[in-house]
Symmetry: C3
Subunit: 301 residues, 3 copies
């Protein structure tokens, strides 16, 4: 009797606290938009796998087929989610081609289900590659979906992500282990040399019109800039000079007058350009992508 009671407690604890083992979080991102039923169908498939899943979204408004932006948004949000979280990212211009469907396990213990088409570039750099497996679609595919060739997002990615997040399959059951590599997009990395820093404009902070760069805090510190110091900034698109100007480095927007430009460290601690209650990207026609380069130096050098 005593034994039964103790046993009961263990079973009880295991049953009531599956979350002690894993959080069961499944986080979607895609270029599907929110105007049709595609995202709703994917979530239905996931919820049908397990009603214990906690289902969230990063965004479904990635510009259509824009793999670079998918890589960026994933890397912007994923580090803030706990170990064991499963991300499903579907921006897949090559659906049906020979690009592989994979699951990346990062060194930080998160999982990303995605076509291996460059989407994993940035998260592989920031969180590290622990292991990569190819999805075995013979085993990991929604039942009765074999005739459908075009909605991998629902039938393979959402389904596999849900089963992994819910603990229905272990990571090893995803499919065969590949080399610990992912397809990488190329872009200008931040470099300090001769008193200036070169970097890339990976993405705009579109809602506010701020220009974000990939120049991280550590690289930026080489300039030894203090609050209020002026910076000289040049921006090139396909090697053509698009913007040249002086901006003060500021801790926050309200440190400069309204409508004035500033340089600052954004929420990712990367160097960025903004205008206090205005749009830097609109005023100077700045866009983002692999073909945009920014060069900054202290004005007095």
């Amino acid at each position: 009797m005593r034994l039964l009671n103790i046993l009961s407690w263990f079973i009880f604890l295991g049953l009531c606290f599956p979350s002690l083992a894993q959080h069961k979080a499944l986080v979607f991102q895609s270029d599907f938009g929110l105007k049709d039923g595609a995202v709703g169908a994917m979530k239905g498939v996931a919820f049908s796998v397990s009603d214990d899943l906690r289902i969230f979204d990063i965004t479904h408004e990635i510009p259509v087929y824009n793999i670079w932006e998918a890589a960026y948004r994933l890397n912007q949000a994923a580090p803030y989610w706990p170990t064991g979280t499963v991300f499903v990212s579907i921006v897949d211009p090559g659906v049906g081609s020979d690009r592989k469907s994979v699951v990346l396990k990062t060194k930080s213990g998160q999982f990303v289900v995605s076509p291996d088409n460059g989407t994993l570039t940035l998260i592989a750099e920031s969180l590290g590659i622990e292991e990569v497996r190819e999805i075995d679609e013979a085993k990991n595919r929604l039942k009765n979906s074999e005739q459908s060739y075009t909605f991998h997002g629902r039938d393979v990615y959402a389904y596999t992500g849900a089963r992994l997040a819910a603990g229905v399959i272990a990571f090893e059951e995803v499919g065969p282990k590949l080399k610990p590599e992912v397809v990488r997009l190329t872009y200008q990395k931040p470099v300090y040399k001769n008193g200036e820093i070169r970097g890339n404009i990976p993405v705009l902070d579109i809602q506010y019109g701020n220009v974000w760069t990939n120049i991280d805090n550590k690289t930026f510190q080489n300039l030894q800039v203090r609050n209020g110091d002026p910076l000289q900034v040049k921006i090139y698109h396909e090697n053509v000079l698009v913007y040249e100007g002086k901006v003060p480095f500021a801790k926050t927007f309200s440190d400069v007058p309204k409508d004035k430009e500033l340089g600052y460290l954004n929420s990712l601690l990367n160097f960025s350009l903004g205008i206090n209650t205005g749009s830097f990207s609109n005023r100077y026609k700045i866009q983002s992508g692999a073909d945009w380069v920014i060069v900054i130096r202290k004005n007095d050098q």
Copy 2:
């Protein structure tokens, strides 16, 4: 003592696993958009009914008052959700008129709370009508909301859907049983005759610009088309020819060169038209709705 323990276990299992009985999933769709507080208020009403509910969305971006598209989006997503799921669909140009507020139980065991204005047309066809009940608003209405005549979505539909999903009321308590019928919108059904198939363009795959038809796989098979075979396609709007062309039938987009047209079976296994990394609907000005007709035949016939 032993009895108490055994009893405890049963109570315990019942309490800890309400989900064994039902999934408690509540899924919303509307034409409210996501820019104001309406969807947030509806979810507050639902969550106030029961914090056990699992609340999801198909879309809130149905074009305003577009009942046909509401019918389509509902039918696109609902079949992927488990038995017992309660859908609440609110596209209601006739709010306050004599259209009935109903709950449809499908033969597949799902529930749809909606004005009976045509929204249920397609799901009634695909999942079947098990039973229809009219909502008794005297019993199923948020308390203290009697003076409000214009937000049925929140006060009646969300409230009733939440109570049904949470098990606070049984389906029988929704209100009186009606004839097992729903208001149906008319449209061209897929028909094969004399070597050609006629069908409707119910909706566009807007994010990508693909043109989806209601020509299902089984009807399509009458043409005995193999991958790579050319198809002759004509599209009419209000009986006027809008597009005429030849496209190859392909398994997937990457089977044709970039910028080239193709016919394929979409994720619902319906015949569709697309362009590899392009927009068929933009290039040829194709829209969707009940007044669009498509005719296809094998080119060699």
Copy 3:
């Protein structure tokens, strides 16, 4: 043994039903939009605090820096959520300035985490101020985020809201108690005098183009209007007459012919202007904000 069993039951009930104590609902609103990873990162921070949280959204499509609309949307949705719900509202043009970061506890027992910049104006009026505390950022800030000055939404507001909703901290642990006041925006309140009512147009029902006013049902009743009675309506923008017309008061849209104007009580029981299946705001170029005034009287007066 018997004691242990009884004790077990109490522990068991406490563990299995934390929701008896609180609902653990966390509801976000912001002007971030849904196109980037910001909202996804905030939810990751919240979910990392506790995977028991129930996370929802009012909207993330508040026009950028529009504090007035933030106040309105919050007040539109919050009253429909249960006691104990924690709202996090981030529309913060003064991020980094000396505006205070606060948590408002309403008399109805809800909590709002927000910059104290006017966002709390309307909810303070409708639900009342129980207590206001300033967030002590030394204690209530995501670890390792001290170097970031620009994403308070994620590092302070989402983090503090999540800890409060999850019961990790009590309200008293948010930070020091302030005077029970919030920063208030000024606007024309509804006033009845000499047979006419003056009020404000706080917001449009944008999806449908209806014009909502702040003239509540009780104030409106002073006109002693019955269904079908004609109303004389004038709308001023910055004291310039923009619209003048007669509209019937109706219970619901379908009480007037298609394309005809009507006055009605909206879902908040406030006087509003609409067109049956049309857009009043588009037809007459009506916008919303503190500088819009509406005057109505019975036509026969």
